[in-house]
Structure formats: structure tokens, C-alpha cells
Symmetry: C2
Subunit: 257 residues, 2 copies
């Protein structure tokens, strides 16, 4: 698989971008590094002439861009997501530099769609959006002024990806990671199950689900592993249902006596 083919499996996802000029500048940055697929989650203004002006010949990227209404829609079919963060957060998935993260992204891009997820100009990504990623990337910057323009961040990461693609060698064991929607199906199932078995009574569900997302992000879940985990969840619920049924029966007995 050659470099253009691998890069063809990479989508750049920009969430809630405020300034259309930044979308155009990001498209130009992408194209200079051989990236073609742009996904926009609820952009404030798009399409827009300012985006076209800043794209400067990369307007084909804008024309083919996909506008989505949610991060889950944008990540449909994606097996591996790297999310950008300007800050090193409280609850974090692994945080790496672009140079550390791009080789792994490429390994997955050789066989499956992958994504680079960028937040808004002012506030970056939400915790919910970051929870969709397997890896967080922070571009090392001046501690006193770390505010990269969003298109400049796209340029740096796309550049690192392009340089890494020049050096890319396929790894021996190619694994099939679970696509985004399968992983999300697992997390829904897990949350529902934990509710059912009463696990959340003494826990903060949102925080606990973030911890669990982090755990499974590190694991790089494969499809079969998702099936196994969901199988366990189903059995757990089934067991719980039987327990409850028996309890209700016994309770009835008590009342009857």
C-alpha cells in the first residue's frame, strides 16, 4: 500500500469551527500534505466564500467535505481516532506528541479508516468528544503562549503524518480494530448494564464511564473483543434478571405467608 493510498484512509474532523477562513486554511494545509477527506461537525458558516479564499486552490477538498451533526456521525466506520488537545487534562486518555502518535495511526490506516479530530478555535474538544478517541495528541508549544491557530495545528499534524508515511513500514501483525460505532455500542451496553445491576448507586456514572472509555481506548479494542465483552454484559444482565425474578418470587412468598 503506497503513501497516497494510506493517506486516503485518513479523515480530518473539525468540530464546531467558528471561522470559515480557518476551514479553508485547514483544507489547504491538508492538501499540501496529501490528505483529502474533511469532515465538519456543525460548522458555524459553511459553505462560505472566505473558506474558498483561504483554501487557495484546495477548494476541491471543501467541495468534497462532509458536514455532520455529531461526532459519532463523523466517526462512523473509523477504527482509530487521534484527538487534539491544547491542554493536558484531568481525565486523560494517553497523551502523546504528534511524532509519537502518527506511526501508530498509519499502521491502522493501512487497513481501516482513521481520524484526526480537532476542536473549536476557542475551547477545543469537549470531554465527550475526546472520549471517542484512542489517543490524545498535544503539540508541544511555548508554555507561555501555546495558542496555535487551528489551521496551523492541522498543518503541523498533517506534516508529521506525511513525514511518518514516507518512513512507513507495515507491522507484522495487522489487527482489525472495532469501528467507532461498534465501540460506542459497547459503551452504551456497558452503561445500561451497570445501571441495571445497580453499580452506579454509589458512583458518578459520567466519570466512571470516562474511566472505562480510557481503559478500553488503551486496549485498542478489536471487533472480536467487543463481541466477547458484549457477550459478558448480556450474560450479566441475564443473571441479574434471574436473580431479580427469584427475589420477587421469594418476596411474594413472604407476603403470602
Amino acid at each position: 500500500m503506497d503513501k497516497p493510498e494510506i493517506l486516503n484512509n485518513v479523515r480530518v474532523v473539525m468540530s464546531h469551527t467558528t471561522h470559515p477562513g480557518n476551514i479553508g486554511a485547514a483544507a489547504r494545509a491538508m492538501k499540501t500534505m496529501g490528505l483529502v477527506h474533511l469532515y465538519l461537525i456543525n460548522p458555524r458558516h459553511f459553505p462560505d466564500p472566505q473558506a474558498v479564499a483561504m483554501a487557495a486552490g484546495a477548494d476541491d477538498i471543501l467541495q468534497q467535505a462532509t458536514v455532520c451533526r455529531s461526532v459519532d456521525e463523523a466517526l462512523q466506520g473509523v477504527a482509530f481516532t487521534v484527538a487534539m488537545t491544547a491542554r493536558l487534562r484531568d481525565i486523560s486518555i494517553e497523551v502523546r506528541t504528534p511524532r509519537e502518535a502518527m506511526p501508530e495511526l498509519l499502521q491502522h490506516a493501512a487497513s481501516q479508516p482513521v481520524a484526526l479530530l480537532f476542536g473549536t478555535e476557542m475551547s477545543g474538544l469537549t470531554n465527550e468528544e475526546m472520549g471517542r478517541a484512542q489517543v490524545l495528541v498535544n503539540i508541544p508549544a511555548n508554555p507561555g503562549y501555546s495558542s496555535l491557530n487551528i489551521a496551523a495545528a492541522v498543518q503541523v499534524v498533517a506534516y508529521e503524518l506525511s513525514v511518518a508515511a514516507e518512513l512507513y513500514r507495515p507491522s507484522l501483525e495487522a489487527v482489525q480494530l472495532a469501528p467507532h460505532e461498534q465501540a460506542e455500542g459497547l459503551f452504551e451496553h456497558m452503561e445500561r448494564t451497570l445501571h441495571e445491576i445497580g453499580f452506579f448507586s454509589s458512583q458518578n456514572p459520567a466519570r466512571l464511564m470516562q474511566r472505562l472509555r480510557r481503559l478500553y481506548a488503551k486496549a485498542r479494542l478489536e471487533q472480536e473483543e467487543v463481541n466477547i465483552l458484549r457477550g459478558i454484559l448480556s450474560v450479566t444482565t441475564g443473571y441479574n434478571a434471574r436473580l431479580r425474578k427469584r427475589y420477587l418470587e421469594e418476596h411474594q412468598d413472604v407476603q403470602e405467608h
Copy 2:
């Protein structure tokens, strides 16, 4: 010498920039990576409110920027210059990637001022400007669309420099390179001397001087070496002057007889 101190020896030189917004965006890119010294050779519009708007908090870089009238003025005192090129040219000095070039730039920046030289938005640097550099850098890009925005190019190179500075270890032999104006003094002396000795009668002087610049750029001229070479040139002219004098005397003799 720590990272901020080394980066304090690096100047970013932008030649004949057309759009003031690009100057502002470049200032922002510089500041995110810890660079502070901006030199502008004949910018079309500067100062300008668009530059301030695009600088987004890096306007201190703009306020301290030095406006120059020539590349030689901008490179005054600089011992090592890396010039950016979008194309791989006919007559070239060494062409490297940013990743290859930044470690050497840092070695020199540890003891002397160094420069990153960027050309105009449309046409890049002139051959004359590139002749002032010891190394050319080309950012590897999509062969079908290699047109990085100038501020995006500043961002990529400043990023590479910042990452290299994290890994920087001083080399054992620190050399004192000849500052720019000493090297230029040598080239003027050389050109004058070659004219005097009649070397250019069968050669294209401009092209030959480019070749010589290339040769000495590769050598990374030290101050003492410049002195030696200029000593040789002086002796050459002296020798030539004596030869001419003798020739004229003999010629006179011939006429007299």
C-alpha cells in the same frame, strides 16, 4: 544554555511579504514555538491592523519586529542562514528537510545569531537571497499541490526547531562561524579579484559567483578562514599588479626600442 536562550538567537526573516495578515499569522506561529525575533525585508504593508488581528496575542512580536531594506541588512551579524525553498532548483546549495537541518542550526544558535529566511508568498526567494544561505530547506509536500501558506511554513519549521531544541545537546567542538557581513566581504573581494585577474573574460560572472557561494556555503566558513582567503586574494592582486607593472615596463621597453 537552555531552550529559550538558544531560540533567542534565532531570527525569522520574511522577504517582501505581500499580505500583512501573513505577517501576523507568522508572528503567532513563531510565538507558539518560542521564537521572538522577526525581521521584515520591505514588507508591502507594515505595520497594519490585519497583521495585529492575525497575530492574536503575539502582537509583541510585531511591535519588536525589525524592518529592513535588504537581505544583507536583515542578516547583519548572522553566522548561519537556512533559506526556505518550495522548489528544488537548478543551482542549489544543499537542500535538506526541516528535520535534517534544524539540529545544525541549533548547534550554531548556541553561540551565534542564526536566521530562517522566508521568501514572498508567490515567488519565494530570489537566487540572490538564496545565495546568502548555507543550507536550503524544502518542506516535503504533496507533489501535486505543494503550496504551503507562508505562515504555515513558518509554523512547520518553527515546530521542527522547537522539537529539535528539546533534544538539543551541545556538540564537542564549538566553532565560530564568520558572520554574514564578513562572508559577503569575502565574496565581494573575490569577485573584484577575479575581475582584476581577467578570470571572467571567458566565464559568466554571476553564475560563477553562485557556484563559489555554494562551495563556501558547504564549507561553513569560520572567521579565520575568511581572513586566510582574503589574504590569498590580496596577495593574488598584488602579484597581478606586479605582473602588470612588469608587463607595462617591458612593453614600454619594446616601444622604446
